[in-house]
């Protein structure tokens, strides 16, 4: 399950970023960004999940260890979870996981958690742009990609 490199001919690195978006807020936010025709980099691959708490830490660890350049988890704002409390668990997990990943040598920018509501199409586009910029600056997750 090696991840193919996405560098374009040596000039300019295009990172591969995995994005989990919750069905009720963030995915709708992504939709809004789309129908509003907001421009954003095409580096994020979005996976729709029913709740941000559906994203097991294992997903993040596996993606990063296998060489993806970044992982972003998007959920509803605290208090707005469709399932009342899912994103509160995401929040605790995110805090903990980020520290652990940093400890074993994964740059903190490679794993991010953000809150994007259904009405925040612009915030979605901004998040995509910001994360892409940060990960691009870090360069490829090459030591891990080469470890395949």
């Amino acid at each position: 399950m090696a991840v193919e490199g996405s560098e374009t001919g040596g000039n300019g690195f295009e990172p591969k970023i995995l994005m989990f978006a919750c069905n009720w807020c963030s995915y709708a936010g992504a939709d809004l960004a789309g129908v509003s025709r907001l421009q954003m980099p095409a580096n994020c691959r979005v996976i729709r999940v029913m709740c941000s708490a559906r994203v097991r830490p294992e997903f993040v660890i596996t993606a990063l260890s296998k060489g993806l350049d970044g992982v972003v988890v998007l959920g509803c704002h605290p208090g707005d979870c469709h399932y009342s409390e899912g994103n509160y668990f995401t929040r605790r997990r995110g805090l903990f996981l980020k520290k652990l990943l940093e400890y074993v040598g994964i740059e903190p920018e490679r794993f991010q958690v953000r809150w994007v509501s259904a009405s925040e199409g612009a915030k979605f586009a901004d998040t995509v742009a910001e994360v892409t910029r940060q990960v691009k600056a870090l360069g490829p997750n090459r030591p891990r990609r080469n470890a395949q």
């Binding site: 995110g94 805090l95 520290k99 400890y103 040598g105």
Partner: protein
């Protein structure tokens, strides 16, 4: 203490209170102490207690669960935390198990002892506790070693030397402490001061040595899942080839699973055939859980584990 242990176990077995006792017994060589399972009166003499009783016997309580009748188990202070966690995680019932607590005065790390004495463990006939030092018998000779020099890493920072959840105790509960000179988390902080690249280099070097023998999982008290995520075929979380990425995934997923449950028994590190510094990983997990959620596993029975609960005003600095 050993005699008192024999008396208690004999009495419990005789009364029929327990069917099965899990303790320590002499191994194939004088310096080896192995888990020992006693079911009848005449086997009681096999039980020993001393500074080489390293194992965390709580793991075996889970296996005794399916047997008829109750099981008894001998626990040190650190192992008591495993019992508390197993109760908390609803893996055992308090009535099902008779806990014999012991006031531990520190356990010897055989690897360090070899280094300090310059003698292979095979020649060591026995180790006796003598206050703030150990008396080691080598052939005809007796040599004394200061405790700080040869204690297990976890014993240097021991905060629970005596069992605190028990039905019977061996001898008096005696306080024991060693001045280790630095913080419990010093080995984690040392790594935290490095740059991300240096930490990556450090851990990739360690994970690359892992042979994925699963010993750390098998010995872990918390790894009681009927079907482990690493053994699942569908979906398959871990590929078979001995790749660095798979080794890293194995250790990180284990660390996440142990978050809020690791009790710092360091059995994983002790059994690792490749001597991976696993306690440096799990100590980090404990440190984060303590700092972020003010929680320590295996102390309070009715405290809710941090990752299955939340507060409305939890911090989210980066979200």
């Amino acid at each position: 203490m050993q005699d008192r242990l024999h008396d208690i176990v004999r009495k419990l077995l005789g009364e029929g209170t327990i069917e099965y006792f899990i303790g320590y017994g002499a191994g194939s060589e004088p310096h080896r102490v192995v888990p020992c399972f006693v079911t009848s009166d005449h086997e009681v003499e096999r039980l020993v207690w001393g500074p080489l009783c390293l194992q965390n016997l709580s793991k075996y309580v889970l296996q005794a669960k399916d047997l008829e009748g109750k099981a008894g188990v001998l626990v040190k202070g650190c192992d008591t935390r495993a019992i508390v966690e197993l109760l908390k995680q609803h893996q055992i019932e308090r009535e099902e198990v008779v806990v014999i607590g012991v006031a531990c005065q520190g356990q010897v790390d055989p690897r360090t002892l070899e280094e300090v004495l310059g003698v292979p463990m095979e020649q060591v006939q026995g180790v006796e506790d003598a206050g703030d030092q150990f008396v080691v018998t080598i052939g005809e000779d007796e040599r004394t070693v200061a405790k700080e020099q040869v204690l297990l890493g976890k014993c240097l920072y021991c905060r629970h030397p005596s069992a605190f959840e028990y039905d019977f105790t061996l001898g008096e509960i005696v306080p024991f402490s060693i001045d280790a000179g630095e913080s419990e988390f010093a080995m984690v902080e040392e790594l935290e001061r490095l740059s991300v690249e240096e930490r990556r280099a450090f851990w990739q070097k360690q994970f690359a040595r892992c042979i994925r023998c699963n010993a750390c999982r098998e010995v872990c008290y918390a790894c009681y899942c009927k079907e482990c995520i690493f053994d699942r075929k569908m979906p398959r979380w871990l590929d078979k080839p001995p790749l660095l990425s798979e080794n890293e995934i194995y250790h990180l997923i284990r660390a996440v699973h142990l978050a809020g449950r690791c009790i710092d028994c360091r059995e994983c590190e002790r059994v690792c055939p490749m001597n991976l510094p696993l306690s440096r990983l799990y100590k980090k997990v404990q440190k984060d859980i303590a700092e972020l959620f003010d929680y320590e596993a295996g102390i309070e029975l009715d405290e809710v584990p941090p990752l299955v609960s939340f507060e409305l005003d939890d911090q989210d600095p980066f979200m």
